[in-house]
Amino acid sequence: MQFDSFSDFIAMGGYGFYVWLSFGTCALILLGILLSSLNDTKRILASVKQQADREQRIKQAKQEQKS
Amino acid sequence: MLRKHSYLQLFTAVCKKDLQLAFRQRAEIVNPLLFFLIVITLFPLAIGPEPGLLARMAPGIIWVAALLSTMLGLDKIFRDDFHDGSLEQLIASSYPLPLTVLAKVCAHWVITGLPLVLMTPLFALLLNLDSQSLVATVFTLLLGTPLLSFIGAIGAGLTVGLQKGGILMSLLVLPLYIPVLIFATSAIDTSSMSLDYSGQLAILGAMLVVAVMSAPIAISSALKVSVS
């Protein structure tokens, strides 16, 4: 371990602000793209389900018209 | 089926529709910003990365880029509504047309002008503008971009019916932008010499008030001409 105490680790030899800023934004962007992709999956599956329900509604309306 | 006439309802309805449309097609918000960023990057590549030189030219660069990127976003205000017929419905509604036009231009400013103002610190970073002139740039853009939208909307209204209206519109509108450009850049210059630049801001504000009052009337008559 290069640093003797945790507070030194945070201070990072005086450059703490820059190091943690870059690691922070990097983590933020990586998480952002990951979560947005997973969210897209949910959204697409939901829209497929919605399309299925819509076709169901149209089929029902047709049956009612016939009867 | 009674009709209640509240101008506020019309104003919010038109703004809400335009904002909804803009957020549905994100490109409409992102493209002018990207254009602005690329134009800003071209200048250092053209004149060299020397920080001092860039800082001195930054106000001019930012404002010319702002002018061009508003121009880019202008023809979209009425084009879709003109081509799908909603513009006719807006004219044939019992509400006065200038009010509808005012709502449309405000929505357009929120879509193109506001993000520009919010992104200025990033552009200042690229041109290493000092903090004083950054504040001045934000103020001048805050007053200037709605002014650009209002004046530009007149050009857009006039050329919406024409096929190749884009270039023609910029020829009509750019001369009208010159006073705005002069006062805005001079405000930023005086601020970089840490002098008081409230005089220029006052003039910009006055121009904005005049534009808000008179432009919608000019725009609605321009639209009536384009629709006929």
Binding site: Y18, F23, T25, I29, I33 | Q25, R26, A27, V30, L126
Partner: protein, 245 residues
């Protein structure tokens, strides 16, 4: 000639392939990312000149390498899509683009954060940072072109063409920016070079590069699955997928 490639032309087979590969990529990413970051941040020795601010190298260099890597793999997918008319390759182009753009953004931000203590300014028109910025514009160009089309098939093809044109221009841009930088060498900017890396810093860097590459792979696979689902929305096999939950 590419016989083994043909079964994956069918969408659901490609979907299965992504599903099987995904867990492996995810595991590699998590392991390498944790090891790389802890090693780079806590255990790697400080640089004698820049002391601890050089630790940013452990994410700046991998993201810069990955931004280039992602663009070239995107271009390769585009070439495969256009030459062999493989529709799934077009989907890959669109899957990689946003991830590459994020890698470039990270490279830019970390480059600026690393440059600040060294040169006192957040943004310096240094050759590598400038070409990284232009690469970001290329990515955003491909993305906004793709989203400008209503019909997604034409969008995929147009984006692939732009990706190929972009990859051809990359070396030219890089070379001209380098030349532009030396041309204005008079300006008081030192070249942004990293000295020969001794082993104690080399290995954590390698681990981080692998971690980043695995991350880009994982997210691309997820996005590729999304694109396939989006494109095959009306197919029955997608409907079963919903029922199975």
């Amino acid at each position: 000639m590419w016989k083994w490639l043909h079964p994956y032309a069918k969408a659901d087979r490609a979907y299965q392939l992504c599903n099987t590969l995904l867990p492996y990529f995810a595991v590699i990413t998590v392991v390498c990312m944790v090891v790389g970051w802890v090693w780079g941040l806590a255990y790697a020795p400080a640089d004698y000149q820049q002391k601890d601010s050089y630790r940013i190298i452990f994410i700046h260099v991998p993201s810069a390498i990955l931004s280039m890597g992602a663009y070239s793999s995107m271009a390769i997918a585009a070439i495969v899509a256009l030459v062999w008319q493989l529709r799934n390759a077009e989907l890959a182009v669109i899957a990689i683009a946003p991830v590459g753009a994020c890698a470039t953004a990270i490279a830019l931000i970390t480059g600026a954060a690393w440059g600040k203590p060294m040169w006192g300014a957040w943004w310096v028109w240094d050759a590598r940072l400038t070409s990284e910025l232009i690469l970001l514009f290329l990515y955003l160009g491909v993305l906004s072109l793709y989203h400008a089309f209503e019909d997604k098939k034409a969008a995929g093809r147009a984006a692939s063409i732009l990706a190929i044109v972009g990859v051809i221009n990359l070396p030219i841009i890089h070379f001209s920016v380098e030349w532009w930088n030396t041309l204005h060498q008079g300006a008081s900017i030192t070249k942004f070079n990293t000295e020969a890396i001794d082993p104690s810093m080399f290995w954590p860097l390698m681990v981080n590069i692998v971690a980043f590459a695995a991350f880009v792979g994982t997210v691309t696979l997820i996005r590729l699955k999304n694109e396939i689902l989006q494109r095959e929305k009306h197919r029955p096999w997608v409907r079963q997928l919903i029922k199975r939950g």
